[in-house]
């Protein structure tokens, strides 16, 4: 069960990244014709990011203590003291931005409002970049746990 959860949350995170990247591309080419598609893409991104929070949070709260102890005893303690500590808190930034994106797209006409389009592009880019960094941090922590156990 713990291994399944460990695999599930980066997968939903990757789907959230792809959906947000899709939203970014739709926003670059915003028109009356792609508004519904862009909204659905952003909604998929937000839903997958919320699923990542629930799955990753459950794993972190219930199972991470064993890996944490091993990492702190192993050759890469920084994987917990810096990488995990930063990851588990910066994730909230990504989550809030993911929840914000569908609201912007639902309420604004990005094809007519240049400022709103810049706002949507900025939020989508921040979600993609921060989520990628979090995926990388997760891989680093997994490697540290592996070489420590």
């Amino acid at each position: 069960m713990d291994k399944l959860l460990l695999l599930t949350h980066p997968t939903t995170g990757a789907i959230a990244i792809l959906a947000t990247l899709w939203t970014f591309v739709e926003a670059l080419n915003a028109s009356g014709r792609n508004h519904a598609r862009m909204w659905w893409a952003s909604l998929i991104g937000a839903t997958m990011m919320a699923a990542t929070a629930i799955g990753g949070g459950y794993w972190y709260v219930v199972y991470y203590a064993v890996d944490k102890a091993a990492i702190l005893e192993g050759p890469w303690p920084i994987a917990h003291t810096l990488v995990m500590e930063a990851k588990e808190h910066i994730f909230f930034v990504t989550l809030v931005l993911s929840l914000l994106l569908p609201i912007i797209i639902r309420k604004e006409d990005l094809s007519m409002n240049r400022g709103a389009r810049w706002l949507a592009l900025t939020v989508a880019a921040l979600v993609v970049l921060s989520a990628f960094a979090i995926e990388g941090a997760g891989a680093f922590i997994a490697m540290a746990a592996r070489i420590s156990s």
Binding site: L82, A86, E88, I103, G115
Partner: protein, 99 residues
């Protein structure tokens, strides 16, 4: 062209929630009774932290979207959101780097 008041309200709420997230990290890591209280509230400090930040964003966004915020340009809010997000993230990394 200015933003819809719902959009402006939720973007300002996101900016506040992102800044509050970093402030809460500093506060709970530097003041142990706060972290212990957050753990006691919902069973783990991370769960309480998540609940506070998401609730702050949603509740503040709902309130600010009803507030007469005036004319706010999207590009201006995009710049503020980017700067706050960058500063908040660097702040968290720097804190755990030097703690």
């Amino acid at each position: 062209m200015n933003l819809n008041k719902t959009t402006a309200g939720y973007v300002i709420a996101a900016i506040i929630a992102i800044a509050a997230n970093t402030a809460l990290v500093f506060a709970k890591e530097l003041y142990e009774p706060l972290k212990a209280g957050m753990k006691a509230s919902l069973g783990h400090h991370w769960i309480t932290h998540a609940a506070i930040i998401v609730a702050l964003f949603l509740v503040l966004g709902f309130i600010l979207s009803k507030w007469p915020l005036g004319r706010i340009n999207g590009t201006f809010l995009a710049i503020v959101l980017f700067l706050v997000t960058a500063a908040a993230s660097v702040g968290i990394i720097g804190f755990f780097l030097f703690e």
